[in-house]
Point group: C2
DNA sequence: CCTACCGATCGGTAGG
DNA sequence: CCTACCGATCGGTAGG
């Protein structure tokens, strides 16, 4: 909670005035002494650059320059470029899981059906992929070739947690005849349809994220058979 | 026709015995004098490596070594590494378009309906993405960040040709009520579902390409309404 | 297509 | 976190 509040605060005022930071102990020059925040800045800059240019095409110098550091300084915070990439992915997954839980929580009071739950999951997924500050998950999806097998295994566990929430929802819709075909393949195809939006979605043109969620629901989920129920 | 035949012939016997080539004028040492084929070998090796390791992580030395050349020699055939990437993408798209035409041609005699046509298109698309020798299109899909704007525009034209065949089919199914939601978004979501299979499909486990096509059809296309028609 | 090579860039480190 | 630096690698070229 404290952690989340600090993150929100930092994110909201950081772009405004980067010069003076009245918070924290003003010892020394009251400048450059805000330890942990530089690490966060590095991860954020890395996420943005890795997404825009790709991991291999982004140099650690690019990242350092983006946060006003000199070329060797990122290695004071991260032991390698790969560790920075992993931090982006790990943080992205943990944030996505937290946001998914929150989205479901917000929808819980109305005791929604499986279709309504899936819409919440899909809508949140589009937000995680395409919403403001959404560089982390696209990096995880498209740069996983550049992490080690051990790191990939750790992330796969988080992805399993993320997808575990979808499984009962999809299964229920499958059993109700509203999603057709093998549910395992349906899940893979649906995630593909959503994840690919990173490639073509343009927030300025195209539809809103709500339009996207509506279109996905219409395409994948059939109306419940009026005969039974 | 001649060109296509030559390509087919070359592709079919090349993997067998790479040593002696009885064809062509056996002047000189009857070795290393088969001009144009080295270019094809380079493109094939580049496609395989670009897919496996990514464009940025593949060095021109890797590609040279893969075809038994020395480090500077690929630049005798291609003026830059980027030109090699573009050749992979361009050849991949032209081949995909040709295969799509052939697949439709083969299905034509039975005068199939829109749903049957879509299945042919989807099945061929999976083959292009996941079938034997299918490195070209995945490279085009996942490495487009590394080509120039001009090259991207040329490829977009080819992709337009490829997708133009899908449009009337999807529109017909949409008008028949068998595909729900805005047809433009449906097309993007469907291509996403198919293209993402590159990330998870494992030919050894999982389903066959026919199973995949069946699952996609079941998920996207609803049974025609029995009331009307 | 090989030989020999170059300038640039990169990830990373020592030592403060 | 900066300064100064290193070894390795890379795309590309001249000149045959």
């Amino acid at each position: 909670m404290d952690q989340a509040a600090a993150r929100t605060h930092s994110a909201s005022h950081a772009p405004a005035i980067a010069a003076k930071r009245p918070r924290g102990r003003p010892r020394k020059t009251a400048d450059e002494r805000d330890d942990g925040n530089r690490r966060v800045e590095l991860v954020n800059a890395a996420a943005r650059l890795f997404r825009k240019k790709g991991f291999d095409a982004t140099s650690t110098r690019d990242i350092a320059a983006a946060v006003g550091m000199h070329s060797g300084s990122p290695f004071y915070h991260f032991k390698s470029k790969g560790a920075l990439l992993y931090a982006v992915m790990d943080e992205g997954m943990r944030s996505a899981i937290a946001r998914q839980s929150a989205a479901l929580q917000a929808a819980a009071p109305s005791a929604p059906g499986a279709a309504a739950l899936l819409r919440v999951l899909i809508r949140n997924h589009f937000d995680v992929l395409l919403g403001p500050g959404s560089d982390f998950i696209p990096v995880m999806l498209y740069e996983s070739r550049s992490i080690t097998a051990r790191q990939r295994a750790s992330l796969a566990k988080l992805q399993g947690d993320y997808e575990a929430v979808w499984e009962p929802v999809l299964k229920a819709l499958s059993q109700a005849g509203q999603i057709k075909g093998p549910v395992k393949l349906a899940r893979l195809l649906i995630f593909g349809a959503l994840n690919w939006s990173v490639q073509w979605f343009d927030a300025r043109k195209d539809a809103s994220l709500d339009d996207l969620a509506d279109a996905a629901m219409a395409l994948f989920v059939q109306a419940p058979s009026p005969a039974r129920q």
